[in-house]
Symmetry: C2
DNA sequence: CTGGGTCACATCATATACAAAGTGCACCGT
DNA sequence: ACGGTGCACTTTGTATATGATGTGACCCAG
């Protein structure tokens, strides 16, 4: 009667989850090869589930599969990064418009809490986590689960590079400032201000991100994709 | 020197493309089982590429895989359909805002041409095709290829149901009217009007679509997903 | 040296065969 | 009629073999 145990999922999913986590954390560098045999051994499965997992990750934009040459951790051009953030911006502002009228004290408190937590932690992983919680709390009340999960997928594609941003610039400080401004306007229910600030925040992020990627690629041989 | 031949793609992609086409055309009905062995025989391959192709299609939202029970053509709840069209609406209106200032006589002419073509054809497949051309021409000049392909993927998930809509209601007539109004405002460069009309058009579509799906599901046993 | 060609090796892509596990259904005895 | 049992079918995964493809080292000619 109790909802059954997680049922020991398919090994394809287990492999996909593990590799996805590695990619998101930056454990595997951009452009690094993902050899089927190696992954199969690491996870104690044959290469068949590995192939399927890689294809899954390719669909999520995290790896790129080059026929007959194997899979590598996907790179991201400055153009792509910019466009991904534009999409995110478009969707997020719309979500906030829907959510704002429904926002209550609970939402305000939780958004503020994740902001505080992100301020206090030194750990990059934690910061990313709290950052996501902050953003997603803002539009939780919009009740658009698929839209949120779509934004989540978009985010996964850029998180690795945001991570670089965090270590190389004052991005974190500026983001924090911008988040506070967004939350202030959000509390007041000022839709125009929230959307404008949020848009500015993501535009700002996109600019810095494109710069970091450009600069990062400068050190690599061309044709990295 | 000449751009090399299509290179006879991987059989995984061949299978995925063929099955995708079948699903989009409605050749395979919603909820119908996609048995690995059957597909393998039809395409003259083993079950391994078939599995990968199915997983690929699952990532695109066209089939749903139930662990240990196989793959079926994905269904769509009214809620999901509505949300998908909301996403599309959000992205399309933004794209049109970017594209409108760049639109020239060529764009106007091509949009009008696809509208005319869609008016004249009796074939449903053709209508769908011209419909897509019309929409995508409107924001071609936005120069956001990834955003467009994202919309394309969203569309693939709902096209099968639009098809039903076409055969069961006056949707086609209304859509044509709405398209003409959109194009008129577009020619004038009236951003506000275009976005408003486009939003209305997609909202209208979403309403009718949700109704059709609801009604369609009424005839099916529950728990179809 | 240097450019080009060749060859061996690593890896991928797919096939085949088979084992294990889950689902659903039919059958059977009560 | 009804609840349990077992079987058949399917999916999932492994093991292994084979062909195809790309990579890089090596060698030879100029």
């Amino acid at each position: 009667m109790t909802p059954r145990e997680p049922v020991e999922r398919l090994s394809v999913d287990a492999v996909a989850d593990a590799v996805r986590a590695d990619i998101l954390r930056g454990t595997i560098a951009v452009g690094e090869a993902l050899r089927q045999e190696t992954l199969a051994q690491r996870f104690g499965v044959s290469h068949i589930p590995v192939r399927e997992a890689l294809r899954q990750l390719a669909a999520e934009g995290l790896v790129s599969i080059r026929p007959n040459r194997g899979a590598v951790v996907a790179s991201l051009s400055p153009d792509e990064a910019t466009e991904l953030l534009e999409i995110r911006c478009t969707l997020e502002t719309q979500l906030v418009r829907w959510a704002l009228p429904q926002a209550d004290a609970d939402i305000h408190a939780r958004a503020a809490a994740s902001l505080d937590l992100s301020e206090r932690t030194a750990d990059v992983d934690r910061w990313m986590e709290h950052n996501w919680t902050f953003h997603s709390t803002l539009y939780e009340r919009a009740g658009r689960p698929r839209m949120v999960s779509m934004i989540r997928t978009l985010n996964n594609q850029i998180d690795r590079f945001i991570r670089v941003l965090l270590s190389r610039s004052d991005y974190r400080y500026r983001a924090q400032e911008e988040h506070r401004a967004i939350l202030a306007a959000y509390r007041l229910g000022n839709e125009v201000a929230v959307c404008s600030l949020l848009g500015q925040h993501l535009l700002d992020t996109s600019k810095q991100l494109a710069a970091v990627i450009e600069q990062g690629n400068a050190g690599l041989p061309p044709g990295g994709r």
